[in-house]
Symmetry: C2
Subunit: 111 residues, 2 copies
Protein backbone atom coordinates (compact mmCIF):
# COMPACT_ATOMS: atom_id res chain seq x y z
CA UNK A 1 0.00 0.00 0.00
CA UNK A 2 1.28 3.45 -0.76
CA UNK A 3 0.74 6.41 1.48
CA UNK A 4 -0.90 9.55 0.24
CA UNK A 5 1.00 12.78 0.18
CA UNK A 6 -1.27 14.72 2.46
CA UNK A 7 -0.76 12.17 5.19
CA UNK A 8 2.94 12.78 5.14
CA UNK A 9 2.60 16.50 4.90
CA UNK A 10 4.13 18.08 7.90
CA UNK A 11 6.52 15.17 8.35
CA UNK A 12 8.75 15.98 5.41
CA UNK A 13 11.20 18.10 7.36
CA UNK A 14 11.28 15.66 10.25
CA UNK A 15 12.07 12.74 7.97
CA UNK A 16 14.95 14.61 6.40
CA UNK A 17 16.35 15.67 9.76
CA UNK A 18 16.13 12.11 11.00
CA UNK A 19 18.05 10.91 7.96
CA UNK A 20 20.78 13.45 8.54
CA UNK A 21 21.29 12.18 12.08
CA UNK A 22 22.97 9.19 10.46
CA UNK A 23 25.53 11.50 8.92
CA UNK A 24 25.92 14.12 6.23
CA UNK A 25 24.35 13.21 2.93
CA UNK A 26 23.12 14.67 -0.32
CA UNK A 27 19.69 14.95 -1.85
CA UNK A 28 19.69 12.03 -4.15
CA UNK A 29 21.07 9.66 -1.55
CA UNK A 30 18.79 10.92 1.19
CA UNK A 31 15.81 10.24 -1.00
CA UNK A 32 16.98 6.77 -1.91
CA UNK A 33 17.50 5.91 1.73
CA UNK A 34 14.06 7.15 2.63
CA UNK A 35 12.36 5.15 -0.10
CA UNK A 36 14.27 2.10 1.00
CA UNK A 37 13.37 2.45 4.64
CA UNK A 38 9.78 3.06 3.75
CA UNK A 39 9.78 -0.21 1.85
CA UNK A 40 8.94 1.56 -1.39
CA UNK A 41 5.70 2.78 0.14
CA UNK A 42 6.84 6.33 0.05
CA UNK A 43 9.35 8.64 -1.49
CA UNK A 44 9.63 12.36 -1.91
CA UNK A 45 9.13 13.93 -5.26
CA UNK A 46 12.21 15.87 -6.21
CA UNK A 47 10.44 19.19 -6.14
CA UNK A 48 9.25 18.45 -2.61
CA UNK A 49 12.69 17.42 -1.52
CA UNK A 50 14.56 20.47 -2.74
CA UNK A 51 11.85 22.78 -1.48
CA UNK A 52 12.32 21.19 1.92
CA UNK A 53 16.10 21.58 1.83
CA UNK A 54 15.74 25.23 1.06
CA UNK A 55 13.23 25.73 3.85
CA UNK A 56 15.33 23.82 6.36
CA UNK A 57 18.48 25.71 5.51
CA UNK A 58 16.72 29.06 5.70
CA UNK A 59 15.47 28.11 9.13
CA UNK A 60 18.92 27.08 10.25
CA UNK A 61 18.05 23.41 10.72
CA UNK A 62 20.61 22.18 8.24
CA UNK A 63 23.75 23.53 6.58
CA UNK A 64 25.04 22.67 3.14
CA UNK A 65 28.37 22.45 1.34
CA UNK A 66 29.52 21.24 -2.05
CA UNK A 67 31.23 17.88 -2.21
CA UNK A 68 34.30 17.89 -4.41
CA UNK A 69 34.49 14.13 -4.62
CA UNK A 70 33.83 11.23 -6.89
CA UNK A 71 32.53 10.68 -10.35
CA UNK A 72 29.25 11.88 -11.78
CA UNK A 73 27.48 15.12 -11.10
CA UNK A 74 28.45 17.42 -8.26
CA UNK A 75 26.70 16.85 -4.97
CA UNK A 76 25.48 19.27 -2.38
CA UNK A 77 25.87 17.76 1.04
CA UNK A 78 23.70 18.61 3.98
CA UNK A 79 24.50 18.45 7.67
CA UNK A 80 22.08 18.78 10.57
CA UNK A 81 22.75 21.71 12.90
CA UNK A 82 22.32 21.98 16.67
CA UNK A 83 19.03 23.72 16.11
CA UNK A 84 18.04 20.93 13.75
CA UNK A 85 18.73 18.35 16.42
CA UNK A 86 16.61 20.18 18.92
CA UNK A 87 13.86 20.45 16.34
CA UNK A 88 14.07 16.76 15.60
CA UNK A 89 13.77 15.88 19.26
CA UNK A 90 10.64 18.01 19.49
CA UNK A 91 9.25 16.51 16.30
CA UNK A 92 9.77 12.99 17.58
CA UNK A 93 7.95 13.92 20.75
CA UNK A 94 5.12 15.37 18.71
CA UNK A 95 4.91 12.26 16.57
CA UNK A 96 4.49 10.07 19.63
CA UNK A 97 1.75 12.34 20.83
CA UNK A 98 0.10 12.38 17.42
CA UNK A 99 -0.04 8.60 17.32
CA UNK A 100 -1.92 8.51 20.60
CA UNK A 101 -4.35 11.20 19.61
CA UNK A 102 -5.07 9.80 16.18
CA UNK A 103 -5.46 6.29 17.50
CA UNK A 104 -8.07 7.65 19.87
CA UNK A 105 -9.77 9.61 17.13
CA UNK A 106 -9.87 7.23 14.22
CA UNK A 107 -9.48 3.71 15.54
CA UNK A 108 -12.03 3.62 18.32
CA UNK A 109 -15.70 3.00 17.71
CA UNK A 110 -16.93 4.91 20.70
CA UNK A 111 -15.42 7.18 23.36
Amino acid sequence: MSISADILRGHTDTIILAQLMAGDSYGYEINKNISQRAGGAYGFKEATLYTAFKRLEQNGMIASYWGDDGPGARRRYYAITEAGMRQLAADRQEWSETKKVLDALILTKEG
Copy 2:
Protein backbone atom coordinates in the same frame (compact mmCIF):
# COMPACT_ATOMS: atom_id res chain seq x y z
CA MET B 1 1.37 19.38 24.03
CA SER B 2 -0.69 20.53 21.15
CA ILE B 3 -0.40 19.11 17.67
CA SER B 4 0.33 21.29 14.70
CA ALA B 5 -2.17 21.59 11.93
CA ASP B 6 0.05 20.30 9.17
CA ILE B 7 0.56 17.07 11.03
CA LEU B 8 -3.16 16.45 11.06
CA ARG B 9 -3.62 17.53 7.50
CA GLY B 10 -4.92 14.64 5.54
CA HIS B 11 -6.59 13.13 8.58
CA THR B 12 -9.38 15.63 8.83
CA ASP B 13 -11.85 13.70 6.72
CA THR B 14 -10.99 10.43 8.40
CA ILE B 15 -11.52 11.88 11.86
CA ILE B 16 -14.93 13.18 10.88
CA LEU B 17 -15.97 9.89 9.30
CA ALA B 18 -14.84 8.03 12.41
CA GLN B 19 -16.94 10.34 14.56
CA LEU B 20 -20.00 9.73 12.43
CA MET B 21 -19.66 5.99 12.91
CA ALA B 22 -20.95 6.60 16.43
CA GLY B 23 -24.16 8.01 14.97
CA ASP B 24 -25.48 11.04 13.14
CA SER B 25 -24.31 14.33 14.51
CA TYR B 26 -23.95 17.99 13.65
CA GLY B 27 -20.93 20.22 13.20
CA TYR B 28 -20.74 21.85 16.54
CA GLU B 29 -21.17 18.60 18.43
CA ILE B 30 -18.76 16.68 16.22
CA ASN B 31 -16.10 19.26 16.91
CA LYS B 32 -16.69 19.22 20.64
CA ASN B 33 -16.43 15.44 20.71
CA ILE B 34 -13.22 15.51 18.74
CA SER B 35 -11.62 18.08 21.03
CA GLN B 36 -12.70 16.05 24.02
CA ARG B 37 -11.31 12.81 22.68
CA ALA B 38 -8.09 14.47 21.74
CA GLY B 39 -7.74 15.64 25.33
CA GLY B 40 -7.78 19.26 24.24
CA ALA B 41 -4.66 18.67 22.17
CA TYR B 42 -6.50 19.26 18.98
CA GLY B 43 -9.64 20.71 17.52
CA PHE B 44 -10.71 21.81 14.09
CA LYS B 45 -11.06 25.43 13.27
CA GLU B 46 -14.60 26.10 12.11
CA ALA B 47 -13.57 27.04 8.61
CA THR B 48 -11.67 23.78 8.28
CA LEU B 49 -14.59 21.82 9.62
CA TYR B 50 -17.21 23.19 7.27
CA THR B 51 -14.89 22.99 4.32
CA ALA B 52 -14.43 19.32 5.14
CA PHE B 53 -18.19 18.71 5.40
CA LYS B 54 -18.69 20.24 2.01
CA ARG B 55 -15.91 18.16 0.49
CA LEU B 56 -17.14 14.96 2.10
CA GLU B 57 -20.70 15.51 0.98
CA GLN B 58 -19.65 16.32 -2.57
CA ASN B 59 -17.70 13.09 -2.63
CA GLY B 60 -20.67 11.12 -1.34
CA MET B 61 -19.00 10.13 1.92
CA ILE B 62 -21.63 11.77 4.08
CA ALA B 63 -25.20 12.97 3.67
CA SER B 64 -26.85 15.86 5.49
CA TYR B 65 -30.31 16.86 6.64
CA TRP B 66 -31.72 19.65 8.76
CA GLY B 67 -32.70 18.80 12.31
CA ASP B 68 -36.02 20.33 13.36
CA ASP B 69 -35.48 19.66 17.02
CA GLY B 70 -34.58 21.32 20.24
CA PRO B 71 -33.72 24.78 21.40
CA GLY B 72 -31.05 27.06 20.06
CA ALA B 73 -29.96 27.47 16.48
CA ARG B 74 -30.91 25.04 13.74
CA ARG B 75 -28.59 22.16 13.22
CA ARG B 76 -27.47 20.41 10.09
CA TYR B 77 -27.01 16.75 10.81
CA TYR B 78 -24.59 14.52 8.97
CA ALA B 79 -24.73 10.79 8.40
CA ILE B 80 -22.00 8.58 7.04
CA THR B 81 -22.85 6.77 3.79
CA GLU B 82 -21.90 3.30 2.61
CA ALA B 83 -19.15 4.83 0.52
CA GLY B 84 -18.02 6.74 3.58
CA MET B 85 -17.75 3.55 5.57
CA ARG B 86 -15.65 1.93 2.90
CA GLN B 87 -13.47 4.99 2.81
CA LEU B 88 -13.06 4.95 6.55
CA ALA B 89 -11.99 1.32 6.49
CA ALA B 90 -9.36 2.15 3.89
CA ASP B 91 -8.23 5.21 5.86
CA ARG B 92 -7.82 3.16 9.01
CA GLN B 93 -5.73 0.69 7.10
CA GLU B 94 -3.63 3.50 5.73
CA TRP B 95 -3.15 4.97 9.18
CA SER B 96 -1.79 1.68 10.50
CA GLU B 97 0.59 1.56 7.59
CA THR B 98 1.61 5.17 8.10
CA LYS B 99 2.49 4.54 11.71
CA LYS B 100 4.85 1.76 10.74
CA VAL B 101 6.50 3.74 7.99
CA LEU B 102 6.93 6.90 10.02
CA ASP B 103 8.22 5.01 13.02
CA ALA B 104 10.85 3.53 10.75
CA LEU B 105 11.67 6.88 9.24
CA ILE B 106 11.78 9.22 12.17
CA LEU B 107 12.28 7.16 15.30
CA THR B 108 15.21 4.96 14.35
CA LYS B 109 18.78 6.16 14.53
CA GLU B 110 20.06 3.93 11.81
CA GLY B 111 18.62 1.61 9.15
